[in-house]
Amino acid sequence: MSKIVQADAMDAFIEETEKLQKALPNKIDANPQNVEKGLAKLVLTLIELIRKLMEKQAMRRVEAGSLSEEEIERIGETLMKLENKMKELKGIFELKDEDLNLNLGPLGDLM
C-alpha cells in the first residue's frame, strides 16, 4: 500500500494550515502576574460568543421581515452599544479580536 501526498500548490496549503493554527485557542496562562487578564479573556470570549449569536439571530429576523422598523432601531442600538462596550473592555485588558477566538468545532471559529 503506497502512501500518496500530492498537491497542486503545496505552499498555498501550508499557508492556510498556518492560518488555522493561529486561530486555535491558546491555553489560559494563569499566573499571579496575569491572572486578571487571563480571566478577562475567558469571560469576554463567552460574552463575545453570546453577542455574535444575538447578532446572527437579529439578522435572520431582519431577513425574514419579522421585525418592525421600531424593533430594528431598538435592536440596532442595543447591539451597537454592546459592540462598543466590548471594544472598550478589550482595550482595558489589552486584548485583540483574535485573542477572543473559540474553535466551535463544525461551526468553525468564533472570530
Binding site: M1, V5, A7, D8, M10, E16, L20, I72, E73
Partner: protein
C-alpha cells in the same frame, strides 16, 4: 516502565511480523477477548512536540494497517501498567468491536481544496454594494445604520457560503460513488474551501483515485491536496481511552 498504545486491532494473538514503534521499541499485542491493543514499552517520557516520535507513531500504524484493520489511538496514549490497558479494553470493548466491524478493510483519504476565496468574496461584495447604491438612502438613525451595515455583511457571508456549498457539491459528486463514509468541513479559512476525509473500501481505492484524477481535470480555479491511504483516524468513534500521558 510505561506502556505506549498505537491502536486496537481485530486480532488477539502474538504478532507474526516484527514491527518497531517509538524509539525503535518492539510492538507487541495485548489481547483481550477477540481483539488486542498494540503496545510497546516506553522507557522515557515523550513530549507532544517531539516530531520524530510523531513520525514513528504514524509509520508504525502504516505498517500495521497493511495486515490489520486498526483503530488508531491518538499520539501519546500512555498507560502506566498492563492491568490498566486491560481495564480500558474491557470498558470500551463494545465500541471497539463495533468500530472494527464498521471499518474493516477500509482506509481513509484526505482531500483539501483551495479556491480563490478573496476574489469570490470581492465579487459578491461588489454586487451587493452596487445593488444597495441603487436604493434610495434617507437619513437614518445610528441604530438603523448599524443594522444595515451588519445585515450587508451577513448577506455577503451567506452568499459566500452558498457558493462554497455549490462548489463542494460538485467535488463530492465525483468522489461519493466510491465512499463508505465521509467528513466534510467547509471554509475553515476563506481560501480553504474544503477539508474532507473519505472512508474508502481497500478494494475501491483505485476507483477513488481515478475519480479524483477526473475531478482534477474539470474546469475551475481550484487547487487540491490529496493524501492517503491513512488509518481511519476521522472515523473512529471518540472514546476517552486516555489513562495517563506525559
Amino acid at each position: 516502565m510505561n506502556i505506549y498504545i498505537y491502536g486496537i486491532i481485530d486480532f488477539n494473538e502474538e504478532m507474526a511480523e516484527a514491527i518497531t514503534g517509538l524509539g525503535g521499541a518492539n510492538i507487541y499485542n495485548i489481547p483481550y477477548r477477540d481483539i488486542g491493543a498494540l503496545a510497546s514499552d516506553l522507557d522515557a517520557p515523550v513530549r507532544n512536540t517531539d516530531e520524530d516520535r510523531v513520525l514513528e507513531h504514524e509509520m508504525a500504524l502504516e505498517k500495521i494497517m497493511k495486515n490489520f484493520t486498526i483503530l488508531p489511538m491518538r499520539f501519546l496514549t500512555v498507560f502506566d501498567k498492563k492491568d490498566n490497558v486491560i481495564s480500558m479494553l474491557n470498558e470500551h470493548y463494545s465500541d471497539f468491536r463495533e468500530d472494527l466491524d464498521r471499518l474493516r478493510d477500509k482506509v481513509e483519504f484526505g482531500i483539501k481544496t483551495i479556491w480563490p476565496g478573496a476574489i469570490i468574496r470581492e465579487r459578491i461584495e461588489n454586487a451587493y454594494r452596487k445593488a444597495q447604491d441603487n436604493l434610495s438612502s434617507s437619513t437614518e438613525s445610528p441604530g438603523k445604520s448599524f443594522m444595515k451595515e451588519k445585515f450587508g455583511k451577513y448577506k455577503i457571508d451567506k452568499e459566500f457560503e452558498e457558493e462554497a456549498d455549490k462548489c463542494i457539491a460538485i467535488i463530492d459528486d465525483f468522489l461519493n460513488r466510491f465512499v463508505a463514509e465521509k467528513r466534510l468541513e467547509k471554509l475553515k479559512t476563506d481560501n480553504l474551501l474544503l477539508d474532507a476525509a473519505y472512508l474508502v473500501d481497500k478494494e475501491k481505492q483505485g476507483d477513488f483515485k481515478k475519480a479524483f484524477e477526473e475531478l482534477k481535470t474539470s474546469p475551475g480555479d481550484l487547487k487540491y491536496l490529496f493524501s492517503g491511504p491513512w488509518p481511519p483516524y476521522n472515523f473512529v468513534t471518540k472514546t476517552n481511552t486516555r489513562h495517563d500521558h506525559e
